[in-house]
């Protein structure tokens, strides 16, 4: 750890927050002004560099700062609402952006003034993301974008997007991509709700028709988009598997409460499954805890993929058991009206919603099958399947 890192300990950071709060009264100040001031004081994401909302302090101490603000009753930046910006766009801009891009985008991203979305997946490029077909063609100082993106949460609220587009169809697929920041208010950007099996429209389809983006919105070099996107995708998996929970803090808690309150519903078979799931939930929780300790110790482990994979299976089994336990009552949903929900709230809605929404957990953010490939190849070092798409120009691949 650097000397700079060592000068920040929990007590010092709490003092820094207290000093900040003494100078900025959140009870009288405008919420956004307060958040901007917190950013400018380096108390936003403390592991970011000085001048970009951070202190260059150890990431492990972020929770100390967040808790100190929460205890004081200060407003936060509603992290769930801006998760894509915080979890994916920000680390990518920090790592690959120009100084100007960092200064322009990171502050309003963190304060939540500007919401971000992710324009990666396409109807014909899901697990095989590098096969994507959205084209970016250079025209003077601009790029002209044409294509269709899908599974875009927050697109209807977003000011900006991180966008992966093909700039060279004549080279193999991974090499012809470039990473952009897309202005969601630009002419030619059309957002349509995509209704999913829950009846909600958490996601969108985004149609890009002759959208002009200045070259200053390019992130990283032309043709280097795949490498830049790896930063985004690594952070996505950490974000999905990463939240700390107490015992029975997730869906297992709902199920356990129902079990305790309703002796009439109990059967031996359901009891056995419940106990198996209680054990599995606790194992997943402790694995996540161990992963966080590794991250805090500066040894990011590959457990992130494991947590994401087991979390998906666990949620599906838990929500299936809940419907079965409740019997005919479990079949009652609240409302099928299409909602434009922007966050997933497993705990507030019906068992029907939980059962259906959990089906997405093994698809979004890397399917469970792709995650198993990643574990097998990157963690265990097993050979790849023979591939037919590596040395072939993208335009010549079968589609």
């Amino acid at each position: 750890m650097s000397r700079e890192g060592q000068q920040y300990d929990a007590a010092g950071l709490r003092a820094r927050v207290a000093e900040f709060l003494a100078r900025h009264d959140h009870t009288t100040m405008d919420r956004v002004e307060f958040l901007r001031a917190r950013y400018d004081a380096g108390l936003a994401w403390i592991h970011f560099p000085v001048g970009l909302g951070g202190l260059g302090a150890p990431r492990a101490l972020q929770s100390v700062v967040d808790e100190a603000f929460a205890v004081a009753g200060a407003p936060d930046n509603e992290p769930r609402r801006i998760g894509i910006g915080l979890g994916m766009a920000a680390p990518t801009i920090l790592r690959h952006g120009t100084d100007e891009q960092r200064r322009r985008f990171l502050r309003p991203l963190w304060t939540g003034e500007e919401v971000w979305c992710q324009l990666f997946s396409e109807p014909n490029a899901g697990s095989d993301l590098a096969a994507l077909a959205t084209r970016a063609v250079r025209d003077g100082d601009d790029w002209v974008i044409n294509g269709q993106k899908v599974w875009t949460s927050q697109a209807h609220l977003a000011r900006w997007a991180i966008l992966l587009a093909r700039t060279d169809p004549d080279v193999p697929k991974h090499r012809g991509l470039t990473y952009f920041i897309c202005d969601m208010t630009a002419p030619g950007v059309q957002v349509r709700p995509l209704r999913q099996i829950t009846g909600d429209a958490e996601f969108n389809e985004v149609f890009l028709t002759d959208v002009r983006l200045p070259d200053s919105l390019r992130l990283g070099a032309v043709g280097d988009g795949w490498r830049v996107a790896q930063t985004t995708l690594m952070n996505e998996r950490v974000a999905i598997g990463g939240a700390a929970l107490p015992r029975e803090g997730g869906m297992i808690g709902i199920l356990a409460r129902t079990w305790r309150e309703r002796p009439d519903l109990r059967t031996p078979g359901l009891h056995d499954e419940l106990l198996r799931l209680w054990v599995a939930a606790e194992a997943v929780r402790l694995t996540g805890e161990r992963l966080r300790q590794q991250l805090a110790a500066g040894q990011p482990g590959p457990e992130g993929s494991a947590v994401k994979l087991s979390f998906a299976t666990l949620n599906q089994r838990l929500s299936a058991l809940e419907v079965e336990l409740l019997g005919v009552e479990g079949l009652r949903h609240d409302d099928w009206t299409m909602r434009r929900s922007s966050t997933v709230d497993f705990l507030e809605r019906t068992p029907v919603y939980r059962y259906l929404r959990a089906k997405g957990n093994s698809i979004e953010g890397g399917t469970s099958e792709i995650l198993r490939n990643i574990i097998a190849e990157r963690v265990l070092g097993l050979p790849r399947e023979p591939r037919s798409d590596v040395d072939v120009a993208w335009k010549d691949l079968p589609k």
Partner: protein, 372 residues
């Protein structure tokens, strides 16, 4: 929250034990001695317990220990599991030692008992708790009747007792230490599934015993021993599963069929990824159990039941996949996979099955069954 990673000292300990086992306990050596008459590998035990001084890790400083504890013992158990080492560490350095420490916590030991604890720590004597290997911590029972200080009873399927010098016997009115060489003590070796931790049947006929503890203190000591055993068995299961995964990955990378390594087929890759996921969880769960035990945490019974409910299945699956993915060679006597499968399956019975531990959890975390 408990610290679930190795401390620097634990990492050093792990490296030391692993290096020693790589040198002194390669699979070929384990395989070569399993059909001998020796109950355990005495040379290896001497190195581990006497030369490296690792048999006394569970003795707390208040009783003259070196300031180590269950976390360090878990490191040793994990490495021993990885090598499927044929030594009575779990039975003597973990279970029997934890029993004596618990006795000592209740009342000062007399000279003879204190000498026993000292000898166990030094590795110069080996002890075993005379209960069936399948006895879980939450249903510890007695195995012998007592007449004028002499013990009579039969216990089937005792682990790590065949080569033990001293047997700790939970009897009707208390816990006794019985010299294994006394008249009235008969041990009959069992042709056991696990060749590296053979079981024996124990028959006591008016065997002379020394009373260690009475009544509730005796029962509490036995429970403490079994709790330590169940917690650290989970570490052994982690090590066992790790060897199975590592050896299988190595094999499928180098085995070519249909013109490519069989490890490039997703049918195998995905199953190995699942083994790795289960193992990552087992490592966290076993680490939590050892850490709770070390801190004497009130959550220990839950942590131990959780570890045994989870880790047994992980080890068995890893060993079964190891045999299957090695194909024909995995089914041979020559290749050591069977030693691991046998140990994994026996460990799944040790200190109670996963199902019994789930039943214990139902009580501990208030998830009662149908009709309750």
């Amino acid at each position: 929250m408990k610290h679930l990673l190795d401390t620097p000292l634990e990492a050093d300990l792990r490296a030391g034990v692993r290096a020693m086992l790589a040198d002194r306990c390669p699979p070929q050596r384990v395989l070569a001695r399993v059909e001998s008459d020796e109950a355990y590998d005495r040379e290896l035990w001497h190195t581990l317990a006497v030369e490296m001084g690792l048999a006394g890790l569970l003795i707390p400083e208040r009783h003259g220990g070196a300031g180590a504890g269950p976390r360090e013992a878990a490191v040793v158990c994990e490495e021993l599991g990885r090598a499927v080492a044929p030594v009575p560490y779990l039975g003597s350095a973990v279970v029997a030692t934890a029993v004596l420490v618990a006795v000592h916590d209740e009342a000062p030991l007399d000279a003879e008992d204190a000498a026993l604890l000292r000898d166990l720590a030094a590795g110069t004597r080996v002890a075993a708790l005379a209960v069936p290997y399948s006895m879980p911590p939450f249903s510890a029972g007695v195995v012998a009747s007592v007449t004028d200080g002499s013990l009579t009873g039969t216990v089937r399927g005792v682990a790590d007792a065949l080569g033990a010098d001293v047997l700790l016997v939970p009897a009707a009115d208390g816990l006794y230490a019985v010299d294994a060489g006394s008249p009235g003590v008969e041990r009959v070796g069992v042709a056991s599934l696990d060749l590296t931790r053979p079981l024996c049947d124990l028959v006591l006929r008016d065997a002379p015993g020394l009373l260690l503890a009475r009544g509730p203190a005796a029962a509490a000591a036995v429970t403490a021993g079994l709790t330590a055993g169940a917690a650290l068995l989970a570490a052994e299961q982690v090590g066992l599963a790790q060897w199975c995964l590592d050896s299988t990955v190595e094999y499928v990378r180098g085995r070519y069929q249909f013109g490519r390594p069989v490890g490039s087929f997703q049918a195998l890759k995905h199953r190995l990824a699942d083994v790795w996921v289960g193992l990552a969880q087992a490592r966290a769960v076993a680490g939590y159990a050892a850490a709770c035990l070390a801190d004497n945490d009130p959550d220990t019974p839950v942590a131990v039941a959780l570890a045994q409910a989870h880790c047994a299945g992980v080890a068995v699956t890893a060993a079964e996949e190891c045999v299957q993915m090695h194909g024909g060679i995995g089914f041979t006597w020559e290749y050591p996979a069977h030693l691991y499968l046998k140990r994994a399956k026996a460990d799944a019975i040790g200190f109670g099955t996963a199902d019994r531990h789930r039943a214990a959890l139902a009580e501990l975390v208030d998830l009662p069954g149908a009709g309750r």
